[in-house]
Symmetry: C2
Subunit: 220 residues, 2 copies
Amino acid sequence: MNQTIRVVLADDHFFVRDGIKSLLESEKNIVVVGEATDGLEALEVVTTTNPDLLIVDIRMPHHTGIEVVEKLRNQNNPVKIIVLSMHESEEYVLKSIKAGADGYLLKGSSKEEFLKALHSVANGGKYFTGDISSILINQLTSSTASTLEPKPVLNEDLTITKREKEILTLLLSGKGNKEIAEALEISKRTAEVHRFNLMKKLKVKNLMELSNKATEYSLI
Amino acid sequence: MNQTIRVVLADDHFFVRDGIKSLLESEKNIVVVGEATDGLEALEVVTTTNPDLLIVDIRMPHHTGIEVVEKLRNQNNPVKIIVLSMHESEEYVLKSIKAGADGYLLKGSSKEEFLKALHSVANGGKYFTGDISSILINQLTSSTASTLEPKPVLNEDLTITKREKEILTLLLSGKGNKEIAEALEISKRTAEVHRFNLMKKLKVKNLMELSNKATEYSLI
DNA sequence: TAAAAAATAAGTACAAATACTTAATTTTTT
DNA sequence: AAAAAATTAAGTATTTGTACTTATTTTTTA
């Protein structure tokens, strides 16, 4: 469980790298296995050293840290990544999350927070510093806010079968019975029956109600 | 700007309150103006002392901390609120956000983080500890994830009229042409025409595609 | 106050969905 | 191996929507 965490540092400033390195190496189960001074080098070093964790600065020559995250994720590289940033920036934070970063720290964070983040990310968790939490909360409370509602659970014995779920998905994507029949290689009449049963089970009387209910109970 | 921050503490454990109090009072521009040992008392003390900030524990007799937040927000009380929790709990975190809390800390947080949270919340910010960031990120990346996508904007000259928007809303709520006609006191044929025009404008060929496109472009 | 845009509504023919029921196969669970 | 559940599919009559076009009346905007 408490194996050595192999880390790569990517930051174009020697002092920053050195600072982080000395901080990390005060911990005995962390070892810095590589360093990079720009985005391209970061990708290279990660590919060759295969570390557990990459700590990457956003502002770097030849690809930003966020681009590095994107590229690694597109390659399905499972390395954990903590993004470092100078200031709170909504754009950077959201882009990092979207790109698939596991953590986000400000350069001003304390040694304790740094290590906490590092360990939780290395263990498969996420750590986005409280300093940027307002950005996350904004995202969550703006928009539909539906995300915050505890999703209602389907009551009692209501069971939607596998096949019905397939039909439901196709229905919600805009397919008609005929298209569904073709897609699943069944008769149009069968598709109709599945649709009918779905509507009966969910007690709805038309497609839109079906769609609404399906979304409400996150059936898809 | 750096005025004294007036704080109320609500926690049913004397030791916790006392610990926080001594921590806070080591800061010179923070003063604890009230304490409460349960939810009801918290509401009372906040109402009478009108503090800048309430630090409230979740688990308390007579209304949980979250219920206290809800009640204060329903009364439009502008007090800033930091919720304290023993452990990371998705349910508690999400409920706190929904109730309108400005911050969320674990009881194990460091003195530094505590004070950082307190100051940023007192200054109108939000502070949700990094320890629970995985919950926030989950919320943001699950669901439609649409929250992270820049919402596409309707192209060019495409204009949906007021009436069409009304029809659209009714359509998406599951109404048929006849029902829409009745609701808007127009002929069923008129409702049909509006629906037809909508579908033509949005280049869709059935209700579900209309629904999907409407959602995608947040037309409703 | 024109001109443009929006809302209203009818007609027609055709396509699709609704609302069931019945029933033969498969597949899954016990 | 039997029972239960799921999938398949057909029949029938009725309702609703599709895909237009044409045209009058209101409302908005220039």
